[in-house]
């Protein structure tokens, strides 16, 4: 059975799905990611689906499950690179992927995760200035 590689880049786990996955491969990825989040302590997961020409209800559900599992393990998931035709089809199929953060590409996905992380720290720091969290994001765009 093929396996989708999980790459660690700094505080982020990056997955780029390049194959037409059998259902078992998708389930294996779900397990692999949970293991790697715990093993590495990464706080962000980026799943690049730009090579996927379809996302059916099984893959959609798997992405949603990965996002939920990650959240429980203190990591935020961003799905990036969805093709326009895939987005149109998913919505018509009836899957709007609630609970999944998306970004148009890997770069924007990394920015989103950095911003999310910065906001979390601001929330923890009661003395911090609330506006401060917006500054790095504004500079990045």
């Amino acid at each position: 059975m093929e396996r989708v590689p999980v790459l660690k880049i700094g505080d982020i786990l990056l997955v780029s799905i390049q194959i037409d996955m059998e259902d078992q491969v998708a389930l294996q990825l779900q397990e692999d990611l949970a293991d790697r989040i715990v093993a590495t302590g990464c706080h962000g997961v980026i799943i690049d689906i730009s090579a996927l020409d379809i996302v059916d209800s099984f893959v959609g559900r798997t992405l949603a499950t990965i996002a939920s599992i990650s959240r429980v393990l203190d990591a935020e998931t961003v799905v990036v690179g969805m093709r326009p035709a895939v987005a149109i089809t998913l919505v018509e199929l009836g899957l709007s992927l609630p609970g999944i953060r998306t970004a148009l590409n890997v770069e924007l996905g990394m920015e989103l995760l950095a911003r999310h992380r910065a906001e979390e720290f601001t929330d923890l720091d009661e003395l911090g200035d609330e506006d401060e969290a917006d500054t790095p994001a504004a500079a990045a765009s």
Binding site: M21, D23, I54, D56, S57, E92, L93
Partner: protein
């Protein structure tokens, strides 16, 4: 002018992938638009998985069709599984007996131009879908 269909067995996860790939190849050959290719391959993926998971396996047959005005693709999915006792319920968004999202059958129907289903409890299920070029 219809070409003879290609029939694939649906007995494993891998076969579901093969059905997707065959449908994609034929969809490109009859020049469906990119969005329509995506919709048809997605519908085929849902129905092939249903054939495997609920029907206990079966087959899928892909053929090109021509009604004189337009070309299209017709796909038949057939199994000899338990059949569907309550079809209206099975076609309802969110209804599932298999622990899925309950979008496979109802969603696939929305993604194609024609959707025909013949089923009876104990008699298996045959679903025929057609997508026409615009």
């Amino acid at each position: 002018m219809s070409e003879p269909g290609q029939r694939l067995e649906v007995a494993s996860d891998q076969d579901v992938v093969r059905v997707r790939q065959l449908v994609r190849t034929v969809a490109v050959a009859v020049k469906l638009s990119l969005v329509d290719q995506t919709k048809l391959v997605t519908a085929a993926s849902e129905l092939a998985r249903n054939t495997l998971v609920y029907g206990g396996g079966g087959w899928a047959e892909v053929e090109t069709v021509d009604n004189g005005r337009r070309k299209g693709i017709r796909i038949v999915f057939a199994d000899e599984g338990p059949g569907i006792a309550d079809l209206d319920l099975a076609l309802t968004d969110g209804y599932t007996t298999g622990g899925g999202l309950g979008l496979g059958l109802s969603g696939a129907r929305r993604l194609v131009d024609e959707f025909d289903i013949v089923t009876e409890a104990g008699q298996g299920t045959t679903i025929t879908i057609t997508k026409w070029c615009r």
